[in-house]
Symmetry: D2
Subunit: 282 residues, 4 copies
Amino acid sequence: MEKRILLTECTDDVGLIAKITNVCSLFHFNVIRQDQFASSEDNKFFMRTVIEGEFSDEKSNETFVNTVTGVLPQGAHVRLVGTGRKKLCVLVTKESHCLGELLMKAYSGAMNADIVLVAGNYPDLGPLAEKFDVPFKLVSTDGITKEEQEKRMMEVIDGCNPDYVILAKYMRILSPEFVGHYPLGKIINIHHSFLPAFIGAKPYLQAYNRGVKLIGATAHFVTNNLDEGPIIAQDVIKVNHRYDPETLAKAGHDVEQMVLMRAVNKVLDDKVFIHGNKTVVF
Amino acid sequence: MEKRILLTECTDDVGLIAKITNVCSLFHFNVIRQDQFASSEDNKFFMRTVIEGEFSDEKSNETFVNTVTGVLPQGAHVRLVGTGRKKLCVLVTKESHCLGELLMKAYSGAMNADIVLVAGNYPDLGPLAEKFDVPFKLVSTDGITKEEQEKRMMEVIDGCNPDYVILAKYMRILSPEFVGHYPLGKIINIHHSFLPAFIGAKPYLQAYNRGVKLIGATAHFVTNNLDEGPIIAQDVIKVNHRYDPETLAKAGHDVEQMVLMRAVNKVLDDKVFIHGNKTVVF
Amino acid sequence: MEKRILLTECTDDVGLIAKITNVCSLFHFNVIRQDQFASSEDNKFFMRTVIEGEFSDEKSNETFVNTVTGVLPQGAHVRLVGTGRKKLCVLVTKESHCLGELLMKAYSGAMNADIVLVAGNYPDLGPLAEKFDVPFKLVSTDGITKEEQEKRMMEVIDGCNPDYVILAKYMRILSPEFVGHYPLGKIINIHHSFLPAFIGAKPYLQAYNRGVKLIGATAHFVTNNLDEGPIIAQDVIKVNHRYDPETLAKAGHDVEQMVLMRAVNKVLDDKVFIHGNKTVVF
Amino acid sequence: MEKRILLTECTDDVGLIAKITNVCSLFHFNVIRQDQFASSEDNKFFMRTVIEGEFSDEKSNETFVNTVTGVLPQGAHVRLVGTGRKKLCVLVTKESHCLGELLMKAYSGAMNADIVLVAGNYPDLGPLAEKFDVPFKLVSTDGITKEEQEKRMMEVIDGCNPDYVILAKYMRILSPEFVGHYPLGKIINIHHSFLPAFIGAKPYLQAYNRGVKLIGATAHFVTNNLDEGPIIAQDVIKVNHRYDPETLAKAGHDVEQMVLMRAVNKVLDDKVFIHGNKTVVF
């Protein structure tokens, strides 16, 4: 008996849960867990169903997905995904904490993914990646245009065919061309503030200047609008007047790595749907 | 169109979600939200289904419940409950913060219940209840046995026929007779510690003596075992070496009232199932 | 033996702590607790010293303050304050939760202040104030200019001579004239967002539209810049995709009342210094 | 100009802060930050003073410490410590998350210490330590008595002369002989529960069986009483009915590594005093 996850997105309607679970029964799949959400704002329906059964016949799986699609309103998007280890490509600059956490969780088995490549615009984190036998590619910006650097980076990423690209403190603003090269939902960024507060550069300096009593971090899918993509996870920690921009940044590292890890794990579990500029996270 | 909630508990089996949602479809009830949990420990299944439709015919509602029960494994427990305001009886001693929070939330409409009676073993909180036009009954322990006092308290409670009895810092240990007089799940207590730490009397003094860096509160259903009933909600706040037992208690009041309120709201929304000595909280 | 608090602000210099504590010794005051902060940004020094001794001779107290001032760099600001109950004037509109919490904490003795007046631009919360025997003044905006309404409100406030004015969800933007009528540090506002996110109107709608996973509240001193005064306290709670603007607001009420209460208590304990557009909170 | 930290413990008395800061002035040390606590329970006084000045003459430093001691009540314990990197010896068994966090923080410079040795009773974490060029010593229990294994472990530890010994999920109960071999305050343990709840073995199983809604971790100094030493730091995370003992443990790893790291950093900053069976943490 194997487990798979059925992911359904469609226009909301009466009886959807019954229809979908009936098809599951028909194909002798047992429903282990089901979460659903219907947005009253735009009448969209999202459902994640963990099912158990016999999935060895891929043709039969395809028929199952088609049958589910057939009972749903037109335009439904239905996927059947496995629960195996995914492949991550991690982009970095110089700060090691987020990459370190990802490497450690992959190493200990606490993250259901392998890091197949680390790529950086600086060489600083190469030795860290290599400690964990993960290849590192330097894609420097030196002496070339932003366009050319991004082109090379895309080649490097595409060369390892990852399921997700994780921006683990990759301190470069991505061009629309780069972002548009990947489907929405494939690139995950960690931003070092509680968005939408302190969009853009130097959020810890902004936080210091404003005198906030909490600092935060936000993991989100990347879109063309800087720091404005759908938010997956956020958290904060308390700070006080004794913190300066440097100690704020140091304290913030802990919440950054924790929030990124939480978001990555939710995505790896296929618990995150994109809903316009928001997310549904089961 | 009215909303009701279908609550199902039974032995786990293949296809339960499909069976239940099919019956909903058959009776033309639309499923708004569904949460379910199957315990691998003892093979029990719990489901809460918010449905929308026409419920004016009580006989038809009964048929609906019976039909649901009929498709489930033997021994299933099925209820169809409304979403109207419930009635609370609140028991108190001298501390006002939990009662105050309940009164304020009922007053502002933020709690889906009316407080129909406040009863205390001391007269101190009578004036507070009466400010909000809630009757107060003093059931003193003076000059009578514990047994007699409890008997009078039960009469007072039963006289107002509440849906739930809230022990809002009622500082009396209840006898098995008192507890057994009410069905499990009817009496909710707030204990001023992070259970199971600091069971029993003077938890803040115990916390002080142990030098903990967090103090907490626990809302739970009352059983015969002191402070050992199924936990509904818990939370903590940070403390440090500067707190003494008195300031710990003062700081703890905030987390007590918040945790009690959260638990009461979950229970009023019929989101809490009792599962052995634990709870399932949707 | 009485306790008082010595509050010192001045340019930072070598030996300030020694100088101040020496003067305390000279006047036979025992230092119970001392907190200090020197800002490296602008070289300002802040100290709060709880001292114990004999304060019955006001002339001697004045000499003490002058002696402390004398040993400090020019421009030092030194105050000796008592620890008695303060007087609050609370401004409200229609939402009851913050006012309710303030009234309850004053009632139970958990707040070291008396609410001497509640004033509202709508009559809705009059009955609540009066339950607690606190006078309520309606200062309606009906049929008069904003200028005139503010003038009347200032008369009402000044008539009760409060130590602090608490804006407990007073949903009016204050004019520079109103703000300038009071010293900085006298008016405390609770804003229903995690500032600087969602400045201005309808923060819960803004939060909903952005799809954040946390919502917050911010208590701050009021200045002429809307929602930009020095922050005293902030906190957040977790939310998810199931919340709409209305349920976000309802959930936010808990964190609003908690954050306002925490800020008010810090201010009442004279633990808050204003430092430019920030605060030092001991 | 160098920074050092003056740590003072003595019986409380009138004028201690003045006396100590006066000696600092006398020796031309500028006080950067000062935190103090006087326990009303047992009349003990603790002070941590960060001072800046010229410390190159060790004889003069000794005179300074003696002068401070001389102005304090008899039995005072005064230390002047530097702010340089400390040396840690980390003991482990099989779980990698706490060791991984310590290695990463040492690697990134976010922890003011070097890990000079990792020692384990199983070989599992040798490769991880060696990735970071930290020597690993296996001190197996195989075929030898507990007494003999502890003797070897003490030799290994003493051989690297660490400032602190960190039990990073070292799953062995230490004998009184082992504990007594080191001064109190030298060995720090992370326990995987919110102590005093769930003392002893299998806290996550205990937490599961009790149905708690929060799980926690506790970092404490090690004494002869299992899990009862002075607590340095604690924190919790929310869980629910969906967690089983295994997923509770996995979720708990995050809070364990965070709490251990926080405690270690506080100790490395000399911000922790031992006060009977409690701590004072500035």
